[in-house]
Symmetry: C3
Subunit: 400 residues, 3 copies
């Protein structure tokens, strides 16, 4: 064995192995084979290489988005429009500019626009009745369950132990708490859309439109919501999340200037969510260490999502595609073989050509000289140029 391997290795550079091919003259098999190959080649060149840009390497993008919101609104409710359970209508009669309604003022890749608000102005750290809506807040003055020093969980403060009349609902008794007082009345003031979608004629520069101006990066907020297929009024009341999806698909084999983004819009939060529908949060402006105004703001969070890739010609993916394509060409042969060997009328003949039998009944080997005719016959098939010259001579003599 080892000497065989050494010999094989040395002779490897002097010899060349190639697969033996049976060349069949059959129109049917030929045409089917060629058509299959054509389909595969068209797929490789047309789809994998040209359409899917199989000749390019792609790199992902590094992106950051900066956004700017413009516009002001004035909320001057009549008493009729206002929720009568709220005590502080004057707090809501005010002007809102960008520093008021964009909270926080700067975010990476997203911005929040207030569209509804609950204001609790001039809170101080002191004691007051808890909100009766908080679980565990309601108490019975005759059987006081308020535990001094324990927080009202999911509530606003620490119980003082007293059970007092609620300042929100005078028929209820609630635990008194040490907290930022008075506590928030978590009631919707029936405000809607404190931001009007602006009159477009005032916009400087371009103005995004899905068909007529799809590359302009200036949007009317209400139109973004409409493009996402949502109702602005409904969304503004409870809040929500809208994705502004920016798609860059750049081909750097051409000029960089042809690389323009596509915008699309989608609502990301589930308007049918059972839990915590919409989007709101609380923040406070502090006027001293002991005074603040608390805001519960509802609004639309616009999240900018950037997708993208840049392609450039490169040999490696081209070769990989060509290579895998060559591999796929084997499929044509498989189909051709099935037709030739199992479908065509002359299948038995073709099979006899494709398959060479190598049967050995005797344990000893193959190229023995036998006189028996039957054996010789078989030999005729089984013994090839590999057999020693002497044997071949024998054979040709016998053939005579």
């Amino acid at each position: 064995m080892p000497s065989e391997i050494t010999k094989a290795f040395l002779s490897a550079f002097l010899e060349y192995d190639t697969v033996k091919v049976v060349h069949i003259k059959s129109k049917k098999a030929g045409i089917i084979n060629r058509i299959t190959q054509l389909v595969i080649i068209v797929y490789i060149i047309g789809v994998a290489i040209i359409y899917m840009k199989g000749y390019q390497t792609f790199s992902s993008i590094e992106s950051s988005t900066t956004t700017k919101v413009k516009g002001a609104a004035y909320t001057n409710f009549s008493t009729k429009e206002f929720n009568p359970h709220l005590r502080n209508i004057e707090d809501y009669r005010r002007i809102w500019d960008v520093a008021d309604y964009v909270v926080p003022p700067s975010e990476s890749g997203s911005f929040f626009v207030t569209t509804n608000i609950v204001i609790t102005s001039n809170q101080t750290q002191s004691t007051c009745p808890e909100d009766p809506e908080i679980p565990g807040a309601v108490c019975d003055p005759n059987n006081n369950t308020c535990q001094a020093g324990t927080p009202t969980l999911l509530g606003n403060g620490m119980m003082t132990g007293a059970c007092v009349t609620s300042d929100i609902n005078s028929k209820t008794n609630v635990c008194e708490i040490y907290a930022w007082c008075p506590v928030e009345q978590d009631l919707n003031p029936l405000m809607r859309n404190i931001l009007d979608t602006s009159n477009k004629t005032y916009l400087r520069g371009c103005h995004y439109h899905p068909r007529t101006n799809p590359a302009c990066p200036i949007f009317v907020l209400g139109e973004i919501v409409a493009e996402a297929g949502e109702d602005y009024d409904a969304m503004a009341t409870k809040g929500g999340v809208i994705a502004i999806i920016i798609e860059w698909d750049c081909n750097f084999d051409y000029d960089e200037n042809y690389c323009i983004p596509k915008y699309s819009f989608r609502r990301l939060d589930d308007p049918k969510a059972k839990l915590a529908k919409g989007w709101n949060f609380r923040f406070a402006n502090y006027f001293s260490d002991n005074t603040r105004s608390l805001y519960k703001v509802y609004g639309i969070k616009y999240v900018v999502i950037v997708h993208g890739k840049g392609g450039k010609f490169n040999f490696v993916p081209l070769l990989i595609n060509i290579g895998s394509g060559l591999g796929l060409l084997a499929v044509a042969t498989v189909i051709g073989d099935i037709i030739v060997l199992y479908v065509l009328k002359k299948r038995k003949y073709y099979r006899s050509k494709k398959f060479q039998l190598a049967f050995v009944e005797d344990e000893e080997g193959s190229c023995k000289d036998k006189t028996d005719l039957a054996v010789r016959k078989r030999k005729n098939e089984n013994c090839n140029s590999d057999c020693p010259e002497t044997f071949k001579l024998n054979e040709s003599q016998q053939t005579k």
Copy 2:
């Protein structure tokens, strides 16, 4: 040559090439070959196609996460628990609600919960002694190195040029600075866990549990930290970063409702970091242009990381998997060949069948034993079935 190519091209549609196969009757080779093929086919169908969902195309997800934190805490330290070096214990005796301890109030994909704080209340823009801990702040009144108009680097303000007694450590002299005064005493008040993990019975709705309730999106903060394998008390003192990893793995061949997320938790910052251990930052509440309270807050930043993909049946990846699987079947043949050609007793015989020799010893050509020179010349190129009929007849006559 060109006419040959043209002919070859034209005949390409009438002919079909298939590889010649040697059909060997050997139980050993047959069984090993079939078993190898079976393993490969099981791998392709079972693993690559069914288990790895090789019949689906996957698309990545677009996600945005909104989070809400609930609860309030009251920090009423006894003088004993409090760091005696801090001058302002009263600032720390207060109530903390969500608008106080979540800073900033709204972030994309993460939220910060204050768990420890250094308060410096009622700073004004004026002059005061620098913190002696700042490099370059300590000075010698006899050899004043304080340069008026130069900032104390990494410090709090601009030196006035005076060298004064520190208000923090009366034995030290430090440069006087124009800054927000008084400067912060960067000392831990020994506060811990200003947020108690809440009593679960008060939670409305469900409550996340890794085994009993793995799809509920309501978490107790302390349990998130525990799930991440960290100690809440230790982490709350110095701060840190916890990832809430949400994994969506959706199969849209089924109903969308089967698509539920998996939650897992991990600490992302290195608790053994040599530099800037934990997580803290400073912010200020401004009470006038010239008055503010400065807060150095330590806490846990919860970062929500969403992974996910959605799969749907598609022919392209199925074909690619089948194709590459067919390619892998070649491995079975390689193994079979090694057995048949190098291992089996009858290997020499099989090799003689597999390999057909094409040796040309003389430089002139192959078809030896010729009398006619012209014929021999032609033979040189044409020998075999390609040879002209006349020559072939000659040959067969000679063979006789």
Copy 3:
């Protein structure tokens, strides 16, 4: 047919098919073939497996970055340096520390550093003249176009209906508005670089340098901008976005400690943008529900982008690479075949050896009995064991 298939299936485990190979003794073909194979094998082992780490599975990273900014600055402009159109020079003479110039105080994966500012202090909700720069703000007192109750779009407030003299430009008449008053004078105070790049000798610990200290995570802000190839002064005036790209490429087959990040820096915003050049935003500090100071801040937003992957040895990708490499070896055979069949002098002979013809002229089948010896001879090759035994016997009798 079905019985054929059944037989074929049963015999499949007793037999083995292997491709018949023509073994050609040709130095040229042999050497070219071996060199091609060598190149491919070197590529597979050297490039695909070792260099590209084809033996590892990679997983993406979960990351979160925390940043900390240090330093203070004092802006004490002389009247000469200051924009004479601005009324409030005193507001700009002040100290800036980290709680002042980092807005918002904490962000996920990025931080903003104020480098230029427009201050509008002590605004109240009241009436005042609109900024004459706002489209639609200028009015003619003789032909009053100010509509009471309508907002000045892209402006600061709600028109009261009066047309008054501008407080910014006394020669112009503008609509009076109900807004946060006085309105901002959107003029650059000619401030630059309110943050000096600090003297490095004061830095505690290490200090990043692209060559001498590439793994240190402490940066001087001005050097980050310089590394990104930008001019700090120009960028500080109008603002901009700089990416701090952190690259982790970890090999977990070695010790985790060898896994150190690489830093690089890039400007992400387009300094030649026609629209909204640079980066700025407005925020306000609220001193009561009715008083605030408005800040328009320009600055550099540093966005931290983390790339990375971790590799670990795994059998699956190794096998895939070996498999696809074996596939590529077919290319060597294609090249060898082209040389042997179309280039070498003895190409016709080799072709005759590689291709076995299977022509059938008559429609009826293959194994017809012919009397002519020469034809019969050929048939001897073309007709194989598939032919019925009786016919074969006939043939061998004739051969006698």
